[in-house]
Amino acid sequence: MATSSTPPFIAFDQSLLPTPSTIDVRGIVRRHGAVLAVDQVSFQVRRGEFFSILGPSGAGKTSVLRMLAGFEDPDEGDLLIDGQSMLGVPPNRRPVNLVFQSYALFPHLTVFENVAFGLKMRRVASALIEAQVRQALTMVKLFGKEARRPAQLSGGEQQRVALARALVNKPAVVLLDEPLAALDQQLRQAMQVELKSIQQQAGLTCVCVTHHQEEAMMMSDRIAVMHQGRMWQVGSPREVYERPCNLFVSRFLGVSNELPGRMGGPIGEDRLFQPIDADQPPLTVRTLTSEQAGRPATLSLRPEQLRMARERPMTSGPVLSGRIEKVLFAGSDTKYLVRVGPERVWETRMTSDASLPSFTAGDPVFLHWSLPDGRLFFE
């Protein structure tokens, strides 16, 4: 017999087990002059995990990476790798290797010498170096190009050398700084898949910094969203995409169709929501918390959560009326921009399937969605 004081049943979460975390960052702060570049950031990275730090430029994500690599020291907080504090440990004595955004390949050395650099610095026997470099080059599919200079390689090949140069040292953590930013779109997509499969094959622990949300979602086990020096949300790509903790995260991870308004009274188990645009009737919303009526809130929906119809749909769920303003054909998908208020245009997508009813600009339409999809953000 449950009473109100028994805690609700919590699904067993694997992540709560004391699995060895390779990286443990505890409340690090980093100031650049008067600017707080990194503000009380804490996170853990588990062994074998692909962890991305995602944020716009200037969010402080590169600072976090440089502190992990040892090029900068935090002004406050601690940073542990495999249980050891890294404070005051210089870059050359940290068990991490960084793949630079510019690759930073040594232009005066061959591909082989570039990859062998780390082993040579650690005075590994040359026979062993030979074998390990070959293995690393095979892994990144560059076998046979050992004698080339970096300048003789394509962008994608240079990227692979940079990766091999880090991997060959078998670091506890591979740090990736915008690893694919310098590649063109097609190569970038191919490398996303390849990088991910190398990471899984070798069981690498990776921390990747990127501003590219799609890339982060495709490659990562978990994503941390950073903005203005703070880490706002950490979770699986699906979690942060579908359940963003605030409007910034929601907007940064994809298109966020928004409708500001105020909370209304209850309607059955759900609540009413009065959009700020007077010509829109109240909508039904679902919220887990009991917000006071009249509290300002913003309703947000992803384009793919919306369905579009010519006639008012026979549903008890929320419906918003609008008019198609633009039809943007983008190959497999078609984007529709729908005006739902005097200053509000929502975006929705539909498969470009010739058998589906087609809409044209100017058509009056109804947008509807399933009740739990609508997310509310309070100020």
Binding site: N97, L98, A104
Partner: protein, 257 residues
């Protein structure tokens, strides 16, 4: 458009003639068999042969080469270290030093020569081959520093970070990354410093004492008793060495890495 280009090339040819005409005349007359005459009396190499038998001239050549070698070495070490050291300094101090470095390049060389002479006399250093070497180091340090520094500032700082990240300590970073990447600039600076030292007249004139006579000084003293074909031959040789050095310097610096 086309006429404009033609006009431009006429001007460039005139400028080239103006620049290199006298030098060409000098080189051509070093092969003239006539003594003390502008009249052409056939081609000969005897003036070049005569140079080889002139004891004083050979001594001056040895001085010149020794001074150029020592001052180049000294200036390259000091200038290179200064360029590397400046990298570590706060921006303002770098600018101050840079200003100080350019100054010796712009003040009249006569002043430099006189100042150095007075300075050495004040230090009670006997003027001779040593003071010439020191004087040449003084004007070569800024040259070397600026050349190496230019290259150093063009290097991607991520390269040195990458080396450190891969386990290199600061000496290894220098030995395996910074130094090899600076090598073209260092060789370029060595060749330019060598040339400037070999060709210098003014600073040498004021700082040289007995036993410190260099080739340019020797040429000057020979000219007092008239322009001989030997001087033409000597100048042509000096010219050849200088131009070779400068061409080599440009070549090594143009090479990527």
């Amino acid at each position: 458009m086309k006429r404009g280009w033609a006009g431009l090339s006429v001007v460039s040819i005139l400028v080239m003639v103006f620049l290199y005409g006298p030098i060409l005349v000098l080189v051509v007359y070093s092969f003239n068999a006539a003594h003390l005459s502008m009249a052409w009396r056939g081609t000969t190499l005897k003036w070049y042969a005569a140079l080889l038998h002139d004891e004083a001239l050979l001594a001056a050549t040895a001085n010149s080469l020794l001074i150029a070698l020592v001052s180049t070495l000294g200036a390259t070490c000091l200038g290179g270290l200064l360029a590397l050291g400046m990298e570590q300094m706060p921006h303002r101090r770098q600018q101050m030093i840079e200003g100080g470095l350019v100054l010796p390049l712009v003040i009249p060389e006569v002043m430099m020569g006189v100042a150095l002479m007075l300075f050495f006399v004040m230090l009670k250093l006997p003027l001779g081959i040593l003071t010439v070497m020191l004087g040449h180091i003084v004007f070569n340090v800024p040259l070397v520093t600026i050349m190496i520094r230019t290259r150093l500032r063009k290097l991607d700082p991520a390269l040195r970070e990458a080396a450190a990240d891969l386990g290199a300590d600061s000496w290894q970073v220098f030995r395996h990354v910074t130094l090899p990447l600076l090598r073209p600039a260092i060789w370029g600076a060595v060749l330019v410093a060598f040339t400037v030292s070999l060709d210098d007249f003014l600073v040498t004139f004021f700082t040289a004492g007995p036993g410190g006579t260099t080739l340019p000084l020797k040429v000057y003293s020979m000219i007092k008793s008239g322009v001989t074909p030997e001087i033409n031959a000597l100048s042509a040789l000096l010219l050849l060495i200088s131009m070779t050095c400068v061409a080599l310097s440009l070549h090594v610096q143009r090479r990527e890495v």
